[in-house]
């Protein structure tokens, strides 16, 4: 009787310890997977890229926007409007969860909420943030096939209430960890938009994401395409990430 109890306790202990280790290692792995996904969207060092955002309704172009984007680290980015001419001189600065907007007509930087729209289906945060790891906690959800491609499904939960989407479901290729698809949800659990990561190009060091198609959650004919180009390592002075500096930018 005593031996049986001892054996039961030992098995339970082994099971619990093993389970804990399993959970921990799975959590660690999924974080690594998310970092690998983020690596397709930028560098670990400060870099710059050009971003073109085109808004479509029923397959015809409604509006277009081009931004010169500088990324300092996971939490800081600086975006300068370069097209259309009517918008030149506008600047978006994102540091942590803060977004400041500068417009030469206002002549002073004002805060924006991350949810506010930039163009079409794209919010300020969609373009200003080049990674998921900073804002979200990942959790393994399932394995699933998308268009014949084996994918790992990751549930991303916002680390705080200040990010644009409380929950994202991300589909990542099980080998190579390329992002395939993202589903973005509201507080109430409503699907706001779907993102398809459709094009990757080879740059000097590795493959990087160059095209994302964003489909509205309700009006499926409303589509916005974000294209990334001219990735290169470049560092802006720290002063440029100070909101007080924005009026100094020409």
């Amino acid at each position: 009787m005593f031996n049986r109890t001892l054996l039961f306790l030992a098995m339970t202990a082994f099971f619990l310890i093993h389970m804990k280790v399993q959970v921990y290692s799975e959590s660690l792995d999924i974080k690594e997977v998310l970092e690998k996904v983020d690596a397709y969207r930028g560098y670990k060092e400060p870099f710059q890229m050009d971003v073109k955002v085109t808004d479509y309704v029923d397959d015809s172009i409604k509006s277009e926007l081009k931004l010169q984007t500088y990324v300092k680290d996971q939490s800081s980015s600086f975006l300068k409007y370069i097209y259309p001419p009517i918008d030149t001189g506008k600047i978006l600065l994102m540091v942590d969860d803060n977004i400041w907007f500068y417009n030469k007509k206002l002549s002073k930087p004002l805060r924006l909420s991350p949810r506010q729209r930039l163009i079409g289906n794209v919010s300020n945060a969609d373009v200003a943030r080049a990674n998921f790891s900073f804002d979200y906690m990942p959790k393994f959800k399932s394995n699933q096939s998308i268009g014949g491609v084996a994918c790992t499904v990751i549930e991303l939960t916002a680390k705080n209430q200040k990010v644009a989407y409380p929950k994202i479901i991300l589909y990542v290729q099980s080998s190579g960890y390329k992002p395939v698809k993202g589903e973005f949800f509201s507080d109430s659990g409503r699907l706001l938009k779907e993102a398809y990561y459709t094009k990757f190009n080879q740059f000097s060091d590795r493959e990087r994401l160059t095209k994302v198609e964003i489909i509205d959650g309700i009006i499926k004919t409303h589509k916005t395409i974000i294209e990334y180009s001219n990735y290169k390592l470049n560092k802006l002075p720290d002063s440029h990430y100070n909101p007080d500096f924005l009026p100094r930018i020409q």
Binding site: K62, S63, E64, K72, S76, Y83, P84, P85, I86, T88, G89, V95, D96, D97, N98, L106, S107, K108, L110, R111, L112, S113, P114, R115, Q116, R117, S123, A125, Q161, K162, V163, A164, P237, D238, S239, H240, Y241, N242, P243, D244, F245, P247, R248, Q250
Partner: protein, 399 residues
């Protein structure tokens, strides 16, 4: 100013390495139309209809050209040239001016010195600017802002801390600003003297992904606001200051809410002890009536009439003591059309100024805006007294 213009012209066309530091060139053009109806420009003209020498309609067609040149290296030269042609049935005129003309020196990427005429805005308020002591002439609606010559020194310690010092108008007028960002909160502390010494504070923060809050406040010793002291005299003989030894406070408390990505709302409450309280307002009424009896401003324009009635000395929506501002903007109402409705409301009088604005992007370079100003309230209230319904149309073209 002449010296600066000469330096600007000389350096722009001679010494700079133009290939390495190309000229940043932009050209912005605006056409503006204003229309006034004579019928009830203000309540006082009813009691003496001859006081205004107005046509039935007042046309004001303005043409603005803004030409901006800047060149960056360790020193940049910045200018914003503005020409204005006014075609009016009252006073046709033309003006040419440098709205901005300043030299900027930057020995390092953190340290800057600007000298000349420069447009600057400080503070977190959307509808009011309490801390911009160097922009005392700023009108929220009037597009003719006056900018003064300044000497500005700024040091950016890093991405979260900055120090600014500005000297303006005369040697004794200055403002100091300390800026700090802490996580999701940023604040500025000010010390200033624009003839009256004071201190200020502003901050802004985000509470959630949809909600932003901000505050801006000042305390100053003494007051530069015109104040009616002797109702039996002409209003222009009133004392300039309320009380030089008292402490006057002003503050704005506001927030910005984005319920949906296409919809943005801003609300601000503004209190100023520099404005007229109920007692002051009674004195103003008496003063105005005395002045109108003199009937000495009969030949002056509608603008003069506005000034005559007190707005010379009071900023728009800062005339009394308690105001609300509200704006809701819906982007992409229909294809390429944005709609915004804004409201200034005087809590002391219950009067308002509502102005819906429609913005239409005609092409990548051309944008059109139409705005109608609608005063609401009793005939003796601020917005109804000083303004009639009027419209404003602008076409802005950028090369």
């Amino acid at each position: 100013m002449r010296v600066l213009i000469l330096i600007f012209i000389f350096l722009t066309f001679t010494s700079f390495e133009k290939e390495l530091y190309p000229l940043d060139f932009s050209f912005d053009q605006q056409e503006l139309y204003l229309g006034y109806r004579q019928s009830k420009v203000n309540a006082n003209s009813k009691s003496n209809p001859n006081i205004l020498d107005l046509e039935k309609y007042y046309f004001d067609l303005r043409h603005y050209t803004e030409f901006k040149v800047s060149q960056e290296r360790y020193m940049s030269l910045n200018s914003k040239f503005k020409s204005k042609f006014l075609i009016s049935n009252l006073n046709p005129s033309s003006e040419f001016d440098f709205e901005e003309l300043y030299v900027s020196l930057s020995p390092t990427d953190r340290f800057f010195i600007d000298v000349g005429r420069k447009n600057m805005r400080w503070g977190t308020g959307y509808a009011w600017g309490l801390i911009e002591k160097f922009n005392d002439e700023t009108r929220v609606i009037n597009e003719d802002n006056q900018f003064k010559n300044i000497f500005l020194v700024q040091f950016f310690q890093d991405s979260s801390t900055a120090y600014s010092f500005v000297n303006f108008n005369s040697n004794s007028n200055y403002a100091l600003k300390y800026h700090q960002t802490l996580n999701n909160f940023d604040y500025d502390v000010y010390v200033f003297n624009n003839g009256k010494p004071g201190v200020g504070l502003d901050f802004s923060s985000i509470v959630s992904d949809a909600l932003e809050i901000h505050f801006e406040g000042t305390l100053q010793k003494g007051c530069l606001t015109y104040y009616p002291t002797n109702p039996t005299q002409n209003i222009f003989l009133w004392e300039q200051y309320k009380n030089n030894s008292s402490i006057y406070g002003q503050f704005i408390l506001g927030g910005q809410y984005t319920p949906q990505p296409h919809v943005n709302m801003i609300i601000e409450y503004f209190h100023t002890s520099l404005g007229l309280n109920s007692e002051d307002y009674k004195l103003l009424e008496l003063g105005l009536n005395e002045s109108i009896k003199d009937n000495k401003y009969q030949q002056n324009s509608v603008w003069r009439q506005f000034l005559f009635e007190g707005h010379t000395h009071y900023q728009f929506a800062a005339y009394r003591q308690n105001y609300l501002f509200f704006r809701v903007k819906k982007e992409e109402l229909i294809n390429n059309i944005n709609l915004a409705i804004a409201l200034y409301h005087s809590l002391d009088e219950g009067s308002s100024m509502v102005f819906p604005t429609i913005e239409y992007q005609i092409s990548d370079n051309l944008i059109g805006r139409g705005k109608i100003f609608i005063p609401i309230g009793g005939s003796e209230t601020e917005f109804k007294r000083f303004y009639d319904v009027y419209g404003l149309m602008t076409l802005s073209y950028v090369f």
